[in-house]
């Protein structure tokens, strides 16, 4: 039996993802420092409204409110014993919302990073990471998620641990990383590195890609890096709605719905098949993205100049793939 996401990918050229969970929940009154996952229990109506916002804007896929719902993140709120329950409820509310929509909408169980640094540089062992991801994944699947959706990962080891955990419970999954440091992930992974890693997995995801990071321009450059490596599985693009700006004591993302429409078109031209937003992306942005994708034709693979002209400048000159940037100082052991 194939999963709903694979089914939709087989039927359709592109799928619309969802927008921001955090931004939306903060707009609904979530306080900084509060664990959003606790709202699954205390404010299920607001979580339903979050999901309905994406569904009504035309999303084919939406992510559950469970990004920080793993043992090591919930421990910071002393809720580490409720991992299964909070995740199950996150997915249950999603299942209800999707089933009520009257069309095929994928409930994607969001799984974020552990927040720990993995061995050998950090403390978290591969085995512990697998356990952490598996516990959360079980809750999400028990609540009726169609697929698991790993996102905002920086370390290849952590991505692999999640792949192993999802394999253990036989759940289909998608996994994206964040390329926020000179075009690479915080741990130095390039777009090409990620393709090589994903292709080498025993338990390959249904789709892979990039989310969050810096601005839409950087994300597009990463997509081109993916496409150039000719991956065998579909690419996901979930970029932020511009860059946060501090205006009169409040935070605004400078990405307008029009800009996100342009971003969606360029993402499709760059090879993405699942296109959504991340931080700052609200239903109005999703509506504009869908309208742009439906009404305007495909274009050629965008070049860096086009991206820069339409979406703004890049945060770094190189993304580690163009031979630009410096290289590591070599041969450090001097001979006596």
């Amino acid at each position: 039996m194939t999963d709903l996401l694979s089914e939709l990918l087989a039927e359709r050229d592109w799928l619309l993802g969802d927008g921001a969970t955090g931004t939306t929940l903060f707009n609904m009154g979530l306080e900084a420092g509060e664990a959003p996952e606790v709202w699954n229990e205390t404010h299920p109506d607001r979580i339903r409204a979050l999901y309905d916002g994406a569904i009504n804007a035309g999303s084919d896929i939406f992510l559950t409110n469970s990004f920080g719902g793993n043992y090591s993140r919930l421990k910071l709120h002393d809720r580490q014993n409720d991992v299964f329950t909070l995740n199950r409820i996150a997915a249950e509310i999603g299942r209800e919302a999707a089933d009520a929509s009257g069309r095929k909408v994928v409930v994607a169980g969001s799984v974020g990073p552990t927040g720990e640094i993995m061995e050998p540089v950090g403390e978290l062992s591969f085995e512990s990471a697998v356990e952490i991801f598996e516990e959360q994944a079980r809750g999400l699947m028990a609540g009726g998620a169609d697929v698991l959706w790993l996102e905002t990962i920086s370390a290849p080891e952590e991505y692999k641990a999640a792949a192993k955990a999802f394999q253990n419970i036989g759940a289909p999954w998608v996994g994206t990383m964040s390329f926020d440091t000179a075009g690479r992930t915080m741990m130095g992974v390039t777009a090409a590195d990620m393709v090589a890693m994903v292709e080498g997995l025993e338990n390959k995801p249904v789709a892979f890609g990039a989310n969050c990071g810096v601005g839409a321009s950087d994300l597009l450059r990463t997509l081109i890096g993916f496409s150039s490596a000719n991956p065998s599985i579909p690419i996901v693009s979930k970029g932020n709605a511009g860059i946060p700006k501090y205006v009169h004591g409040h935070i605004h993302y400078d990405g307008t719905p029009e800009l996100m429409g342009e971003y969606a078109l360029l993402a499709r031209d760059a090879g993405a098949r699942i296109i959504g937003g991340c931080c700052g992306t609200l239903p109005e942005h999703l509506v504009a993205m869908k309208a742009a994708l439906e009404s305007r034709p495909r274009g050629p693979l965008p070049d860096m100049e086009t991206i820069k002209a339409k979406l703004g400048d890049f945060s770094s000159e190189s993304d580690g793939l163009d031979g630009g940037g410096g290289s590591k100082r070599k041969n450090r052991r001097r001979s006596a």
Binding site: G33, M187, G188, G320, R332, R334
Partner: protein, 233 residues
Amino acid sequence: MSDEEEDLILSELSDDDLVLQMMDDLYDGMKEEIIESVNILLERGWTPYDILTKSLVEGMAIVGIDFRDGILFVPEVLLAAGAMKGGMAILKPLLIETGAPRLGKMVIGTVKGDIHDIGKNLVAMMMEGAGFEILDLGINNSLEDYIGALEAENADILGMSALLTTTMPYMKVVIDTLKEQGKRDDYIVLVGGAPLNEEFGKAIGADAYCRDAAVAVETAKELIARKHNAREA
């Protein structure tokens, strides 16, 4: 690694070569070699302060430059910082004993409501690597936590980190409180975190926004030097 690398005997190197070697070993995150070299220099009569400033701090500065330039990434920096820490464990008590001059003390922490700490930890490590004393308050700090620690520690620098757009504004609350209490000019205030930028740093009244850990170190050094000059003038 080639075979001749295995043959390298640290104790046979001249002081100059050993110092260069230490910079290389820091770059490669070789903790045991750093510890060995620190001990060799101590045996040769180097002062703890010279070992710190002329080998370890210089070596970490190179790591910082390559991190800033997107050549080294977090894993390599963590390994280098780990090696530095190995050397510092030996030097720290000796520095206190010998009354070596202090570069400056920083109180650092993630702001209230924010539980992200990887970036903040990196800054703390790089600052320590540059020879600053660090008091790391961890995550979720109130203005009382910050201001209390600044006073108790007689610190020079306040470092605040935020990874959420919703927690960034709290930095302004802390700075405004320092102003109200007439203490703002007692400290250098550095802010950082993924969603921040220079414009934001200026808007809230910080001394500087630091894009990454390497920039934080450079900025701290520069502002401390400027402060000392201003005092002497």
